[in-house]
């Protein structure tokens, strides 16, 4: 059994015969804020729903705090916080009603934290959820996820539908949370600025496959776009070893690749008798290159 609070090994899942997740393996260490990136439909929500115990993998192993999340009971769920991508509570429910349920179900519920956040965001306990703005509904869902003080927090697009100010405030609260309790956070998004502000590890999912999973700094340092040109014997055909993406244009080859493992750009240039130039990539460049079909 893995000691990582979030652990997935060779996980695959399909819906109606269409593979949504393919052989996904990831381990997230304790206290990490893991940014889970991917285009719409990449499989982020399916992955998080497996971690939340709502669905099961077709193949592979999913563990949260050492347990199969689909099988856990109330005791283990005390430590697992989950915020869905979409509004998920009856719109007719009152804020107070939902808070009361949280208090009743979670001995670890922190009323002071919940009350403080509700006051901070100006959400009246007497209002029905349907009368709250989209942003306030997201914030309220977030409050419900963190008030029980979970050790693992799953946030599916936590900043969706929030304005810039609210998004920054929510993300600040996530940071504050992890400082306070050292919980492990996995949050999915396709807003790269969110990730760069808060995440210390990154996973990029494309077409159900995890392309990379590593610390943000390491990712930025290790992935480069390299242009090979001036081939004396003609450009080589076939796949470039270790590359994420290869674009051929005339006699030029542009490769998105890791520069610190396997063959380096210098090695390749020497082997192919050509010149090369290396370009640094920011997170958005890396995300776009790795997410392209």
């Amino acid at each position: 059994m893995s000691e990582a609070p979030i652990h997935m090994q060779n996980v695959s899942r399909s819906f109606d015969g269409v593979a949504v997740i393919r052989n996904l393996s990831v381990s997230i260490r304790t206290g990490s804020i893991y940014g889970f990136l991917g285009r719409n439909g990449a499989g982020k929500t399916t992955t998080i729903r497996m971690l939340a115990g709502l669905i099961r993998p077709d193949e592979g192993t999913v563990r949260v705090s050492g347990n199969d999340p689909f099988l856990i009971g109330a005791e283990e769920r005390q430590r697992l916080g989950y915020m869905s991508e979409k509004a998920m509570i009856s719109p007719f429910a009152r804020v107070r009603t939902v808070l009361n349920l949280g208090r009743a179900l979670y001995p670890s519920w922190n009323p002071a934290l919940a009350d403080a956040l509700i006051a901070k965001y100006g959400i009246s306990p007497r209002r029905r959820l349907t009368s709250l703005s989209q942003g306030s509904q997201r914030i309220f869902s977030f409050i419900l996820a963190i008030a029980p003080r979970p050790s693992v927090l799953l946030l599916d697009e936590p900043a969706a539908n929030l304005d810039v100010v609210a998004r920054r405030e929510v993300l600040d609260d996530i940071l504050e949370l992890i400082r306070d309790c050292g919980c492990t956070v996995l949050f999915s998004t396709h807003i790269l600025s969110d990730v760069e502000r808060v995440a210390d590890e990154i996973g990029i999912l494309a077409n159900g496959t995890l392309r990379v999973s590593e610390p943000l700094d390491s990712l930025k340092d290790s992935i480069r776009q390299v242009r090979f040109f001036g081939f004396r014997g003609g450009a080589p055909g076939g796949d470039i070893p270790g590359s994420f993406r290869t674009v051929r244009s005339g006699d030029d080859i542009t490769v998105t690749m890791r520069i610190n493992s396997g063959a380096t750009p210098e090695d390749l240039a020497a082997r192919w008798s050509c010149q090369h130039e290396t370009r640094a990539m920011n997170l958005e460049d890396i995300f776009v290159e790795l997410s392209r079909n």
């Binding site: 819906f15 109606d16 949504v20 399916t46 729903r49 939340a52 115990g53 709502l54 669905i55 099961r56 009971g73 109330a74 005791e75 769920r77 005390q78 697992l80 989950y82 869905s84 991508e85 979409k86 509004a87 998920m88 509570i89 009856s90 719109p91 007719f92 429910a93 009152r94 009603t97 939902v98 009361n100 349920l101 949280g102 009743a104 179900l105 979670y106 001995p107 029980p148």
Partner: protein, 259 residues
């Protein structure tokens, strides 16, 4: 965490989270319209036009996600996904859902039973001769009486209004058990919503089927009602036993279902 505390917290939450579900049980009170009228027809008394509401409540309370796609199961309604991801045991959650469902289904029939105590006896018109004979031979205390204008097709049933009201409660409870099992049985299937609509259609058409009497025999709903009157204890014992078995099965099934 204490399972009893979980159960009551979930039941209370479901009861207040979506007030509009309380509108449906009001519709179950339509039998009141037919109660204590002078010599009503048994055919009218047996009509159950609102049985499909039990199915609607079943879907709404037990598995609102039945109307969503398998990959995007973000169910609205009572917030199925929200509740399922809270700190609850699945079996307790299933039990609280079932309890709320049965409460909603039975609250009106039980009110009707209580209301029937105000005027318990019934004089009912049974037009078909075979049905009249069937009634007289099975319903305890039933007897032919002279109706208004000297009609000879009126049967007196002591506590007949109570009997009819209790029959409706039994009918609702039986259907609710069937609905609960059906909802969880079809839950994993891709075409589940269509199976469910087909079930609603079938139940909606049942009042028409109930008047069907092959070869001029007693309509099957009246036939069943007379047997119910004759063997009430057995009917209730069997039904409650079915309820318990269904509940055990549904709790186990629910624990294995994806959201």
């Amino acid at each position: 965490m204490n399972t009893s505390k979980q159960f009551w917290a979930l039941l209370k939450f479901q009861a207040v989270v979506s007030p509009f579900v309380w509108v449906l049980p009001v519709a179950f009170c339509t039998p009141l319209l037919f109660m204590s009228r002078t010599e009503p027809s048994l055919n009218i008394l047996m009509l159950s036009q609102n049985l499909f509401l039990v199915l609607l409540l079943g879907a709404l309370v037990l598995a609102p996600e039945i109307f969503t796609t398998s990959s995007g199961g973000q169910a609205g309604g009572l917030g199925a996904e929200f509740i399922r991801t809270r700190a609850v045991d699945k079996s307790i959650l299933a039990r609280s859902k079932s309890s709320f469902f049965y409460l909603l289904v039975l609250i009106a029939p039980m009110a009707v039973v209580l209301y029937s105590l105000r005027s318990p006896d019934l004089h009912v018109t049974i037009y078909e001769r075979l049905a009249r004979l069937d009634c007289l031979s099975h319903v305890p205390g039933s007897a032919l009486v002279a109706g208004r204008g000297g009609r000879s097709d009126v049967v007196s049933i002591p506590n007949g209004n109570v009997l009819v009201a209790a029959w409706r409660a039994w009918e609702f409870l039986s259907l609710a058990i069937l609905v609960q099992v059906f909802v969880y049985a079809i839950h994993p299937f891709k075409l589940r919503r269509y199976y469910f609509w087909a079930f609603i259609l079938l139940v909606s058409l049942s009042p028409m089927l109930s008047t069907f009497s092959p070869g001029g025999s007693v309509p099957w709903d009246q036939h069943l009602f007379f047997r119910y009157a004759a063997y009430q204890s057995s009917f209730w014992i069997l039904t409650l036993a079915s309820l318990l078995l269904a509940q055990v099965w549904c709790e186990r099934r629910f624990a294995r279902l994806e959201q």
